[in-house]
Amino acid sequence: MNTENLIALLVAAPLLGAAVLLCGGRRLDRVGHWIGTLLSALSFVIGLVLFTDMLGKGAEERSLHQHLFSWIPVEGFQADVAFQLDQLSMTFVLLISGVGTLIHLYSIGYMEHDERRRRFFGYLNLFLAAMLLLVLADNYLLLYVGWEGVGLASYLLIGFWQHKPSAATAAKKAFLVNRVGDMGLSIAIMLMFTTFGTFAFGPVLESTGETSEGKLTAIGLMLLLAACGKSAQVPLQSWLGDAMEGPTPVSALIHAATMVTAGVYLIVRSGEIFNAAPDAQLAVTVVGAVTLLFGAIVGCAKDDIKKALAGSTMSQIGYMILAAGLGPIGYVFAIMHLVTHGFFKAGLFLGAGSVMHGMNDEVDMRKYGGLRKYMPVTFVTFGLGYLAIIGFPGLSGFFSKDKIIEAAFAKGGTEGWILGSVALLGAAITAYYMTRVMLLTFFGEKRWQPDADGNAPHPHESPRSMTIPMILLAVGSVFAGGFFSIGDRFMHWLEPVTHHDHGDSPLSAATVTGATMVVLVVGVTLAWFQYGRRPVPVVAPRGSLLTRAARKDLLQDDFNHVVLVRGGEHLTRSLVYVDHTLVDGVVNGTAASVGGLSGRLRKLQNGYARSYAVSMFGGAAVLIVATLLMRAV
C-alpha cells in the first residue's frame, strides 16, 4: 500500500474528533472524552505505522510527500495543501501524538468533575490536529495555518475556565503576544515570496544560495520573531507564565511538551536559511542564552508550582533555541533535548497536576510539604522527572543537555566561551530551582491548613487513568536520552535533514561533563541548604531585590502594562475623541456654517415690499453696470 496517503489521516483523525465533539452537542457528553482519546490514539498508531514503514526505507527516500489540492491558485502565487513527512516531522509526529494521547488519557480523570469535559477534549483534539498540520506542512503558508491553529487551541484551553477573569485575560494575552510573533512569520513568508517566488520548503531551502545574505538575514530574523512568540522566548515570553491559568494537562501538553517547541522546529526546519545568514544565527543564540537564564531565574522565585515549572520550560526551550542557533552543530541536540524535555516536563506537569488534584487545586508550594507519604506514585514519577531535568547522569536530560553545552563551547571563539558558560550557569540554576520545587513539595513537614471555609485538603493518590500516563512519561524521561545517544542513533536518524557536523570543541567532552556535574552538585546543595535544612515559612519572605523582581517575571509585565497597555488606552481614547471632534467636526462645522449663513440671509426677507424693490433696483443697477463693464473690458 502507498503509505504517503496515510499522512493526511494523521491530521484528519483528531480534526474529525474536534468537529464531532464541538458540534455534537450534549448527547455526546458521556462518551465524548473516549472519542477524543481514541482518535488521538488512532493518529499515534498511524504515526507508528508510517514510522516502521520509514525505518524500512533507506535514509534518502525517507522523505514522503502527499499533495492534496491546490489551495490558493492566483496569478504568480501558488499555495498548496501538501504534506511532507521526513525524519524531523516524524519525530514530532510521534512526540505529539504519543504524549498527546497520554495526556488525553490523564485528562479523563483530571477533568472528571467538569461539566464541559466534552468540549475540553474537543479543544485538545483541535490542538493535536493543528500541531500535526504545523509539523507536516510542506510549505510555510500551510505551516502558518497550523501555527495559528495551535495558537487558537491554546487560547481556548488557557481560557477554558472562562468564568475566571484571570483565565480569560491570560488566554487573550497569550493570543495577542503570539500574534506579534505571527506578524514575523507572515512577513518572513512575504519576503520569501518576493525573493524566491514561492514559499514551499523544497524550492526555498534549496535556492538560498542564489540570493543576498541581507535578504536571508531579514527572513531569518522574522522567523526568529515568530519563534520567540510561539516558544515564549525573550522578549515575547511574558504570556507563558499566565498561561498556567489553564487546566494542568493543557500546561503539560501545550505549554511544556509540544506547542512551545514549535519555534525550535521552525528554526531547525529553516536551517539552510540560517546557515547562510550568520547574523540571524547569532541573534538566535543570543535570544536562547538570554531566555535560558531569564526563565531559570524566574523559576527560582515562583512559589506557584506551575509557574515555577513554566519558568523552567522557558529556560529549557532557551537551551533548544540556543542549540538551534549554533547551526549544524546544534540542530540535532536541539531536537533531541526537545524530545527528552517533552517527556520529563510533561511528566513533571502531570505530577504537579496530580498534586493539585489531591490538594484542592492549591498551587502554592509553601502550602505543600511532606507529600511523599500521601502520594507515592506521584512522588516517584515526579522525582524521576526531576532527576532527568537537572541532568542526573544516565537519565534523559543528562545526555541531551550535556550535548548542548558541549556544542555551545564547540561554537568556538569568544562566542563559544560565553554561550558555553551561560549554558553551564543555566544548568546550575536549573538544579537549584528544581531541587527547591522538589523539597518544598514532597519533603519537610506538611504546611497546609484548612482554608477559609474550613475544609482542609486530604492529600490522596490520583486515580489510575492519571497515574498510568505519569508512569509512562517517567519511563520515557529515564530512558529516552540514553536510548537516543547509544551510537548516536538519533543523530544519524536526523542526519539527512539537519546535516550534522561536529564543531571543534576547545574542551573535551569529558571536561564539559565534569563541569556540568560540578555545577549540578553546587545547585542542589545550595537549594538544600536553603529549603531542606530549615523549615520553610508559609508566607514568602520579602526576599532580595532580584527575588522580588523575579517573582514579577523580572518586571516584564509591568513594562508591558505601562508602555503598551496604558499607552494604547490613551492612544485609542484620544483617537476616539479626534474622530468625533475633528473628522466629524469638520463636516458638521461646514453644515452648521451654511445653516448660519442661511439664517443671516433669511433676515433680508424682511417682509417690506419697499426693501424688495430696493434689492430689485440695486440688482438692475448692478446688471446694467456689469453689462457695460463687460463691454469696457
Binding site: 445653516g595 415690499a609 424688495y612 438692475a620 446688471l623 446694467i624 453689462t627 457695460l628
Partner: protein
Amino acid sequence: MSATAVHSLWTTAADPIDKIDAPKIEYGQLAPTLIIIGAAVLGVLIEAFVPRKFRYYVQLFVSVVALAAAFAAVVALAAGDYGTTKARIAAMGAIAVDGPALFLQGTILLAGLVAIFTFAERRLDPVAHGNRVDSFVAQAGSVPGSAGEQAATKAGFTTTEVFPLALFAIGGMLVFPAANDLLTLFIALEVFSLPLYLLCALARRKRLMSQEAAVKYFLLGAFASAFTLFGIALIYGYAGSVSYGTVAKVVDGTVTTVDPALAGTMGNDALLLIGGAMIVMGLLFKVGAVPFHMWTPDVYQGAPTPVTGFMAAATKVAAFGALLRLLYVVLPGLRWDWRPVMMGVAVITMLGGAIVAITQTDIKRLLAYSSIAHAGFILAGVIATTEEGISSVLFYLAAYSFVTIGAFAVVTLVRDAGGEATHLSKWAGLGRRSPLVAAVFAVFLLAFAGIPLTSGFSGKFAVFKAAADGGAGALVVVGVISSAIAAFFYIRVIVLMFFSEPKTDGPTVAVPSPLTMTAIGIGVAVTLVLGVAPQYFLDLAGDAGVFVR
C-alpha cells in the same frame, strides 16, 4: 445730431399716408392663443349671464374644453411641421410659430389644464352652510371676517371668475414665449401678469396674507414691467424698431438700409446694453432669479395654493421661453456681454435659493425657495448658448412644471382647523398617518432634489450637460454644490414626515375629489416617466430646439 437732420425727419414723417392695407393674420397658426382668449371672453360673458349655481360647472367645462382644444391645436401644428420646417413668423411679425414656441405652449396648456383641476377642487374645505366650497373667497370685495363675507358664504357665492382670469393669464403666457417683437412681449407680459395679481388676492382662508401677497406682487411686478418697458424704449431708440428680426440685424450690423438717424443711434452701444439689461431684468423678475426673487416667497406663501402651483409652473415656463428667445434671437450678437453677467446671476440664484431654503419653516416658502434654486439650474442651461442648451431648458421646464403643480396640490391636502397646515412642524409624522400622501410628496421632493430615476435628475443632467458642453463647466460645479445643499432641506422634510412621531393635534389629510387626484397622479406619472424613459420627450425638445428668425 444736427437740427437739419431732425427737420428732414420731420418732413418725411409728415408725408400723407394714403392707404393702410389690412393686416394679414394666420388664424390657423395662432389658433391655440385665439381659442384660449376666446374662451376667456366667453367666461366673462358666462359670469354675466349664467345663473350663479350653474356658473361653476359651466366655467369649469368651458375652460377644460378650451384648454384641451388649444392643446389639440398645438399638437396639430407640431404634427404639421410648423415647429420645424414650416416655422414661420405670423401676425405680421408679431408672433413666431416655431419649435420652442409650440413646445412651450403645449407645456403651458397642459400645466394650465392640470392647474385648473386644482382650481376646481371643492372637497377639501369643510362644507360651509351646505355649500361645497373651493379654495377661493366667496366674494372678493367683502372685508375679511365681516358680516358681508359670511353673508356671501351663506348665499353660496363662489368666485368663479377665477376660471376666465386663469384663461386670460394662460393666453398671455402662450403669447409671451412666442412674441416676436418687443411690444407684443410687453403686452403679453401684462396680459398674463394682471390676472395673476388678482388671483393671488382671492384666497378663502388667510385673506390678509392673500391680499398682502397680491399687493406686493402687483407693486413689484408693475415696478419690474416699468423697467422692461424702459428697456424696450431704449432698444427701440437704438434700433429704430421693436421687431426682433430688425433689432437682431442692427445688433449684428447686418442691417440693409441705414438712414442717418439709425446710423447715429447704432453707434451708441450704451442704449443697446442698458436697454437689453433692463428687459432681461424684467424677465429675470418673472422667473424669480436672485436678486429679483424677493417677491417669490411672500407671494407663493400668501396666494391660494392652487394659484401658487399654477404660477410657479406656468409663469416660469413662459418667462424662460421669452428669455430664451430674447437672448438667442435678439441679442446673440451680444453673447460675450450678457453671458458672464448671466453666469453671475445663475450662480447666486442657485446658491442663494438653496442656502436660504435650509432654514425655512413653512412648506410653501420652502417650495418657493426651491423654485428659485431651480431657476438657477435652468439659467445654467440658458447660458449654454447652444441648440442643446435650448432643448435642455425646454425639457427641464416641462419636467419641472408638473412636479411643482403636483407638489402644491399635495400641500392643499394637508389641513387643520385653520385651512392648509403649511407650517413644517405640522407635517411631522405624516408618513405614519397617511403613508400614501407622504410617499407621493416624497417622490416630488426627490425629483426636486434630482435623485436618479426621477424627472428632476434627467432635467438636471440635461442642463448641466449642455452647460458643460457650452464651456460653462464652472456652473456645473456650482450647480452640483448647490444641489447638495438643496438636498439637505428636501431630506429634512422627508425625515419630518417619516421618522418623527406624529403630533396628537396634527393636521388631517383631506380626501380630494378626482380632480386633484388627477393633478397629483399626472405629476407622479410625469415624474417617473421622464425619470426612467425620457428619450421620447428629449427628442421632442431636441426637435423643438430651433428658433425661427
